[in-house]
């Protein structure tokens, strides 16, 4: 008797949880309800990963603004980090017969079927920011995004130049991003390639700080205790670097002077630290690919040839450049 009530209750709870989940997905798809317009405007269907960071939010804003500016009708969908939402959104776009589909894949694999459907419907697809691992490269027109290896290399090259006068060994510690993620792997690789130019530069410790401030701080605390002489910190993103700053200060050292700090991303807080002289160098990983994406959309729609890989326009910042750029920084 009691047992049946319990099962019935838990069943009800499960149903409620399910309803909640489907309600959330429904919200995510609300933008895709209406059909493609017929007033001659190019219609772009875009499926975003989610809104997990300031970087991503800036990315979304850039795409929305650039679309409005270019006179392209944008159908926007937030996949909330779920591949099934993204596949659903893409199928919706195919049904609505949009002109071009662009999306930032949540994960690398499992896209062949839905991309094939888009190809059969003769709708060109553009990947943004993240790649897919499909063997058939004809499934998408082009991939626009940052080159993580290059970002790591730029960081390394700056360091080689900065330390070219160094005669003794230069001890580097590295804060990696989330283990196994593409940016972490590629930035590590690019950095290692670049510093190979000078045998004095040596990475003495390298650990994952999970791209978070708390992670960066916790790892740096141990680095500082385990390695009496740290000359350089290379962090795979600004946030880990910002966390590490606090650990360095607590250890009685001066960030930017006693320890040279190089990071990647150039978000606002990172740029502020650079302008304040706490960081020494940032290689930008720009989310503002909207204008470039709209250019590509127009070209693809007109049937023009586009390169298979388009790099986001990115730069690097020194302390002086950061001071100049900070007032107009968007994110």
């Amino acid at each position: 008797m009691t047992r049946t009530t319990i099962t019935r209750r838990s069943l009800g709870a499960l149903l409620a949880a399910g309803l909640l989940a489907s309600g959330l997905t429904a919200c995510g798809n609300s933008d895709t309800g209406d059909s493609a317009s017929g007033d001659g405007k190019i219609v772009l269907g875009f499926s975003q990963v989610g809104a997990e960071s300031g970087w991503r939010t800036a990315n979304t804003t850039s795409i929305k603004e650039a679309a409005a500016e270019a006179g392209i009708e944008l159908k926007f969908d937030d996949a909330q980090q779920k591949q099934e939402n993204q596949i659903k959104a893409i199928r919706n776009y195919i049904q609505q017969k949009v002109d071009v589909i662009a999306f930032s894949p949540v994960v690398e694999s499992g896209w062949d079927t839905v991309l094939k459907e888009a190809k059969d419907a003769k709708i060109p697809v553009i990947l943004t920011d993240r790649a897919v691992d499909s063997a058939d490269k004809s499934l998408y027109k082009t991939f626009i995004g940052s080159d993580f290896v290059k970002e790591g290399r730029l960081a390394g090259e700056w360091l080689v130049k900065e330390k070219q006068a160094a005669t003794g060994p230069v001890n580097i510690v590295e804060l990696q991003g989330t283990t196994g993620s593409a940016p972490a792997n590629d930035r590590k690789k690019g950095f290692a390639e670049a510093i190979g130019a000078n045998p004095n530069l040596k990475v003495v410790a390298s650990q994952s700080g999970d791209f978070t401030r708390a992670g960066g701080k916790q790892v740096m605390e141990q680095f500082l205790k385990a390695n009496p002489k740290i000359d350089v910190l290379f962090a795979h993103n600004d946030d880990m670097g910002l966390g590490a700053l606090e650990a360095i200060t607590a250890a009685g050292k001066v960030p930017g002077k006693d320890i040279t700090i190089i990071t990647i991303d150039a978000v606002k807080d990172g740029m502020q630290a650079l302008a304040d002289g706490k960081f020494n160098f940032i290689a930008e990983c720009s989310p503002l690919l909207g204008p470039q994406l709209m250019e590509l959309v127009k070209k693809v729609k007109a049937g023009e040839e586009v390169p298979a890989r388009v790099e986001t326009e990115e730069t690097t910042f020194t302390q002086e450049q950061a001071k100049a750029a900070l007032p107009t920084r968007k994110y």
Binding site: R9, A13, L20, S206
Partner: protein, 356 residues
């Protein structure tokens, strides 16, 4: 020899014995790797060293695990603590960031009170779902686990809120009498919980609810009220942990703050010898469990274990802790050991027989 064994039996038989052994083994391994691991020095008027880091960083986990112990003692589980950590941290940091003077004590205290109040409401929500509506705890708290993180992101509008408030920062990185302030807070909360549960009948009542809620009710215990209470306490502990975590980095990250802390807390409780079936809880064990987990994480960084293998390393240690604590496993191991000599001759005999 048998007398030594008999004399040691109460020590080795104590449920804290094996977890403490594990903790010592981890610390010894670190010291072997780097002899200065245990050294603690005085820097800028406070203690500084890896050991201090472990204690300071384990403070939030100790708090979350304390609340979790009580919930588990009633036969429940609270998956939403990580989200409560994120929400409380986000609310406090958002409020402080909007103050004209972020260093004003009044503003910080208002922020803490506001965030704490919201956390209590979230805890009460869990408690009502479980105790009044009767939803199974794992499902009831799963709702807030998912929704709470969304709420935290909504509060921070998906951004990391950075604050610059000395009083708030003190919660995470400040010092009192050379000791990290965070661990003092954790100790004070631990003492309060311990006194309330073990110096009054409350602890026993919680355990009786976990043993059999219906029987407890018939015996005159207000089971529902107790169940509701433990979820509120759990959320309150998570809120304080949330203040510590966000104060530690002076910023609220709706995505990352307290992510997976519920699993660490459950693990700490289990390592401490509390059964997930409910009916018993051991606060001292929970604290040792939390210390083991933090020591494990710090060891990975201090010994520079490759990040690709770090998770495997952690898993192996956790499996070892759990196995060594299981009486059935130890009994089997001991039997093997005592049985070991007899099989040897039989093996020899067989060998002899083969040529013959």
């Amino acid at each position: 020899m048998s007398t030594v064994k008999a004399r040691l039996a109460p020590v080795t038989g104590h449920r804290l014995f094996w977890p403490l052994v594990m903790l010592v083994v981890l610390l010894v391994a670190n010291t072997v790797y780097r002899p200065s691991f245990l050294s603690v020095e005085l820097k800028n008027g406070h203690l500084y060293g890896s050991l201090i880091d472990i204690v300071r960083l384990s403070a939030p986990l100790i708090l979350v695990a304390l609340g979790m112990s009580l919930v588990i003692a009633t036969g429940g589980i609270d998956l939403s603590v990580g989200s409560v950590v994120a929400v409380s941290g986000a609310v406090a940091c958002l409020y402080i960031s909007e103050q004209p003077d972020q260093n004003s004590l009044g503003g910080v205290f208002t922020a803490l009170a506001l965030a704490f109040g919201i956390a209590l409401l979230l805890g009460a929500w869990n408690g009502v779902l479980v105790a009044v509506i009767g939803i199974q705890p794992i499902i009831a708290t799963l709702i807030l686990m998912v929704a709470g993180r969304g709420l935290a992101q909504l509060i921070t509008s998906g951004q990391i809120i950075t604050i610059n408030s000395e009083p708030y920062k003190t919660i995470g990185v400040g010092h009192l009498l050379t000791l990290p302030f965070a661990i003092i807070i954790a100790l004070v909360v631990t003492v309060i919980v311990a006194v309330l549960t073990r110096r009054t009948a409350l602890g026993m009542i919680i355990e009786s609810v976990g043993g059999n809620a219906e029987a407890s009710r018939l015996a005159g215990v207000r089971s529902r009220r107790i169940t509701l209470l433990v979820y509120v306490v759990s959320a309150a502990c998570a809120a304080i942990a949330g203040f510590m975590m966000t104060a530690n980095v002076s910023s609220a990250d709706g995505n990352a703050a307290g992510l997976w802390v519920e699993l660490d807390a459950i693990l700490a409780v289990v390592i401490g010898g509390t059964s997930l079936a409910g009916g018993r809880f051991f606060l001292s064990g929970t604290i040792v469990g939390a210390l083991i987990i933090q020591t494990l994480t710090t060891s990975v960084y201090a010994m520079n274990i490759d990040p690709q293998t770090a998770l495997l390393f952690k898993a192996v240690v956790v499996i070892a802790v759990c196995l060594i604590q299981a009486p059935a496993f130890r009994a089997r191991f001991r039997r093997r050991k005592s049985l070991a000599p007899p099989p040897a001759p039989t093996a020899e005999k067989q060998k002899e027989q083969v040529p013959a």
